[in-house]
Symmetry: C2
Subunit: 251 residues, 2 copies
């Protein structure tokens, strides 16, 4: 028998194309040597072009899945992906409050890369007021940040009690990918050259890789650096399974 | 960019412990070099000991997820795991009938390894009359076979139009694991010594590995031999993440 790996609890949406969501999270976790415990928050109908429907599960079902796992498995970190509704967000915040010693990485997914909505607008207040103060890190991209903190960006979220905010640059425009880590100071985290094209699930992959590295014991900056390198390699090996975006090769 | 791998469409339940269901299927597919497209049929609340609840999704949502993927991605094979209800089984049979050229491996999941029910009894008739005749292979274990074909076992299913039935021995008792492949004749497929203990998701892993190898172009016997070897290795490296069963290490 092999020794038990670190375990990452993931609460996220399911993308049947396999590009983003739980499949991206599961593939990333095992690639980094971490056992994934996947909990579904919502079921999407989507392909590699865009999302055509998103069906949130009952909040109690989301929480029951997670509590069953938390009662049985020693969870080293939690990654939150798409949550869909304010009711699910609030139920997940209650769950996190019952397990305050586990590090949480929150990827505040509001829309798919193709533009399809994945969250009702009322979820924004739940992120700001409840989920971010219970998280160790949030990973919005610039569009998400503009919706989550229209006044003052990352500093506004830190003032609400979020300890660290990584403004991700995977969907940015410069020649190089440069994420910004905001804590009490601002660090720029360079990830290497930006590759041409649009990649389905690269944001999910980055947040999961950070959470997996935290589950393995990295501090925040180490986790971000190593996760960034993982995503860079996965994107460099991407393939195009359908008519739309490429998928990072995480395996 | 990497060339596009073969793609396996998976329709199965989600197990939040990560031992069985879609996580097992996704991990197995990527370990064998195949892109997984995961569609959820039902959401379970379970840990490594047993299932405490199983919530089937609306049949239309199951089919919509799959049709979005089939319209965008070139699917090389389909693996069916737990389907839960006769309504989902019938909707999936309609789906398969619209895509008759894709090879289907059907794992007729009726109960979790811990004994918890994962299917209503009306689903049995849907397997017999509709899903098996549309499948290339079914992979019941002996307990499932006794429920699916109480009169005459595998021969009864072949008479209904199933072309091949692998009676799996992962949960059997002999010193060696010996699966039985029933087609127009019976082949015994030996998989090596039986390891001590109970393994969560070993049946899912075997069926997914067979489907993945078929997606890669193997004929049926090659696929079964290679999948059996994959499961044997995963079980030999299993770990125990919680209080219950061990989980095969598929990565």
């Amino acid at each position: 028998m092999t020794s038990t790996p670190a375990i990452l609890l993931i609460i996220a949406g399911l993308d049947p194309s396999g590009g983003a969501g739980l499949a991206a999270d599961i593939e990333t976790a095992v690639a980094l040597g971490v056992h994934p415990a996947p909990v579904a928050s919502l079921i999407t109908v989507q392909d590699t072009v865009n999302v055509s429907a998103s069906e949130p599960l009952a909040p109690e079902l989301v929480v029951d899945q997670a509590e069953a796992v938390l009662a049985d498995l020693p969870i080293a970190a939690i990654k939150l992906g798409a949550l869909g509704t304010a009711a699910i967000g609030s139920a997940v915040a209650d769950l996190l409050a019952r397990h305050p010693d586990i590090a949480v990485v929150t990827d505040p997914v509001l829309a798919a890369a193709g533009g399809g909505r994945l969250a009702e607008s009322e979820l924004i207040a739940v992120y700001r007021e409840r989920l971010f103060p219970l998280s160790r890190l949030a990973t919005p991209n610039r569009e998400e940040l503009a919706l989550l903190a229209p006044e003052d960006g990352a500093a506004e979220l830190l003032a609400l009690g979020l300890p660290a905010c990584l403004v991700t640059d995977g969907e940015g425009r410069g020649d190089r990918i440069v994420h910004e880590l905001h804590t009490d100071e601002v660090h720029l985290v360079a990830n290497g050259p930006r590759l041409e094209g649009s990649f389905h699930g690269s944001g999910c992959t980055l947040a999961s890789a950070i959470a997996a590295r935290i589950a393995l014991g990295d501090d925040l900056e180490e986790a971000i650096h190593r996760a960034g390198a993982f995503v860079q390699k996965a994107v460099a090996q991407a393939y195009q399974p359908g008519q739309g975006q490429k998928v990072p090769k995480r395996w």
